[in-house]
């Protein structure tokens, strides 16, 4: 019995050099004839059927006839590996001795069987299990962040007396990154927001001939809410993302491990300067942002309404009570603390690969922005209750 199987071509046409094999099962020993070009381009990737040797009696020897074999590459080895497996299953003895030497050596590297496909995914845990698991993890995370916050606060107190061990150089670098170098972007964003507010406000207020109240509108909205939030969102994207990326990269480079082994607490070396600098700089950026936003409104108002500059500015100063500024200032401080703490925590929890750095940066920014807006809502409720 002789079966001839022209393997299905992968690329190229049927040519005499096409890889082909035929099994001569009549003779003893069994003979597998291989001919043609057994490389990937000439269709050498044909699989040998798993049951191709099922007619053979166990214990027989399978010889390979390679006299008509031309070129070969790893595709040939792939085919031979299949043959060897089929021979194993049928209890046939595979004799590689007639193969070219290099092919024998490569074949010898391969294990008897390819790896089993991974076991099917386990069924998802019951609903209550998952809820319980999530809750526990949430509580655990809250605890960890609280400990981090407490350690940073303690470190900040110690820093006042100069005993924290924090390097002033690190603090200076972080202060620069979280403050002066953000002036431009915070300025642009706040200017535009102030200008847009004034524009929309003017169009509506004009219907009631109350143009001049646009000064109050812009002033109060920016001082109380918008500048604080916009500045925090910009800083969450800018500095929060940077903190998370830096810390997770340090984790991947084993720098965090090196700190721990050297006995340098991560909290004083990384967390303290990062969190401190953002918390110190954000309120200042908020004040700067508010002034720029008011200026943005002023520019639009001056071009759209008939009034004097002095009049507009006087209305603004009279319209904003000092406590609006204090409220915004305090909020900014808390926003900054939250953004920095969350970013550091996300960075420290990240995995160690390049992909994990990206995930950590994204997560830090998302948590920062959502958290800031949620906190602002909370502040609004508190202010309402306290009647500020």
């Amino acid at each position: 019995m002789t079966n001839t199987h022209p393997p299905s071509p992968v690329t190229g046409q049927h040519t005499p050099q096409q890889a082909a094999w035929s099994l001569d099962a009549s003779g003893i020993p069994l003979t597998l004839r291989l001919s043609g070009n057994w490389d990937v381009e000439h269709g050498g990737m044909a699989p040998f059927p798993q049951d191709g040797l099922h007619t053979a009696t166990p214990g027989q020897v399978l010889q390979l006839d390679t006299q008509q074999l031309e070129n070969w590459d790893t595709a040939f080895i792939s085919f031979l590996w299949d043959v060897k497996q089929a021979a194993n299953h049928a209890g046939v003895q595979f004799d590689p001795s007639t193969l070219p030497g290099p092919a024998q050596r490569l074949l010898a590297l391969l294990p008897p069987e390819p790896a089993k496909p991974p076991a099917a995914q386990k069924a998802p845990a019951p609903f209550l299990d998952r809820v319980g698991d999530k809750t526990l993890r949430c509580l655990d995370e809250t605890g960890t962040v609280a400990v981090m916050a407490a350690e940073t606060a303690k470190g900040a107190l110690k820093a006042l007396t100069g005993k924290s061990g924090m390097r002033l150089k690190d603090l200076a670098t972080d202060l620069w990154n979280a403050g002066p170098s953000a002036l431009l972007i915070v300025g642009i964003v706040n200017f535009l927001v102030g200008a847009i507010l004034a524009f929309v406000g003017l169009i509506e207020l004009r219907r009631f001939a109350a143009d001049i109240y646009v000064a109050n509108l812009v002033g109060i909205a920016c001082a109380r809410e918008i500048s604080a939030i916009m500045t925090a969102i910009v800083m969450a994207g800018r500095t929060g993302g940077a903190y998370a990326a830096r810390i997770s990269t340090m984790l991947g480079n084993e720098e965090i491990d090196a700190l721990e082994v050297s006995g340098i607490p991560v909290s004083t070396y990384i967390l303290l300067p990062s969190i401190l600098s953002l918390s110190l700089m954000m309120p200042l950026l908020y004040i700067y942002g508010t002034i720029i936003a008011i200026f943005g409104g002023f520019v639009v108002a001056m071009t759209m309404m008939s009034g004097t500059a002095i009049g507009y500015l006087t209305t603004t100063v009279n319209g904003i009570a000092l406590h609006e500024f204090i409220f915004g200032f305090i909020k900014s401080f808390f926003f900054a603390g939250f953004i920095a703490l969350a970013a550091c925590r996300v960075g420290l929890k990240a995995g160690r690969s390049a992909a994990d750095v990206g995930i950590a940066a994204t997560r830090a920014v998302v948590i920062g922005i959502v958290g800031v807006i949620a906190m602002d809502a909370l502040f609004a409720i508190i202010a309402n209750v306290l009647d500020i």
Binding site: V10, V40, T74, W81, P102, L109, P114, A355
Partner: protein, 265 residues
């Protein structure tokens, strides 16, 4: 088609530099087909930098690298990329792409540069991982496997396209002696099996003596190659103090003459 006795790569009077800082100059050598060529020298002598200029990552300041007679750096970017498909590179830290599984790492060059069907690629990935004994790790992420396994997976990726020339940057760095010896055997078997030519940057002496049959020794002080030949021959016959000190693992050049003739490895 080039004669099989022609060198596969020939380097002529190469100078590699970072700006005004010369790393190595007057570098000339021929890479014989089927040889295992060792680039040797102390730390910081520019071994890896020479490798970088051979695989297209760093343009040399002057000189030529001829790949089968074709001036590599005189070609445009597209032609260089085509030539690079004939190269397989194992980087020092394996450089597996961390967002992909081991199997996807090996499959990517085939998906990008061959018209093969996905099922064919899957079988080839299985095969190449099988060569390096990593077939069980096909669905694992690089972060889930050990350093030695990453090296082997990187090797499987380097041979994905059946390259003619394999470049290894410190293949045994960070591996235990047994794993390192196994990797040596694997390199030899792959060289014979695939018919590839191998360039290996290393200062692992036992491994170099075992597998390399040609080489060049770069000197960090004079910024030039000071010896050519197989590491074994350099160890046994070189009279250059720096080379002798290196091959016999001596601390200083002065000590080398005292223990002349002793061999190591």
């Amino acid at each position: 088609m080039a004669e099989s006795s022609d060198p596969i790569i020939s380097v002529h009077d190469l100078t590699i530099a970072f700006g005004p800082k010369v790393i190595q100059q007057n570098v000339s050598f021929d890479l014989k087909r089927g040889s295992i060529f060792a680039v040797m020298g102390g730390s910081g002598c520019g071994k890896s930098t020479l490798l970088k200029s051979m695989i297209g990552l760093l343009r040399p300041a002057s000189g030529q690298i001829l790949v089968e007679g074709e001036d590599y750096w005189a070609q445009n970017q597209r032609r260089r990329t085509e030539l690079n498909h004939r190269f397989g590179v194992l980087f020092q830290s394996a450089a597996l792409w961390s967002s992909m599984t081991v199997g996807e790492n090996v499959a990517l060059p085939m998906e990008m540069f061959t018209p093969l069907r996905p099922d064919v690629i899957r079988r080839l990935v299985e095969l190449k991982l099988g060569f390096v004994g990593m077939e069980h790790a096909v669905d694992l992420m690089p972060s889930e496997i050990s350093g030695g396994m990453r090296k082997r997976a990187g090797l499987a990726r380097a041979i994905a396209l059946d390259p003619d020339i394999l470049f290894f940057d410190e293949p045994s760095a960070g591996l235990d002696p047994i794993t390192s010896a196994r990797l040596d055997d694997l390199i030899l078997t792959l060289r014979d099996g695939l018919g590839a030519t191998i360039v290996i940057v290393s200062h692992e002496l036992p491994s170099l003596f075992k597998i390399a049959d040609d080489g060049i020794f770069l000197d960090a002080k004079t910024h030039t190659p000071i010896a050519h030949g197989a590491p074994r021959d350099l160890r046994d016959h070189s009279t250059i103090p720096e080379v002798m000190a290196f091959m016999n693992r001596e601390a200083t050049v002065q000590d080398a003459s005292a223990t002349k003739g002793e061999t190591h490895g």
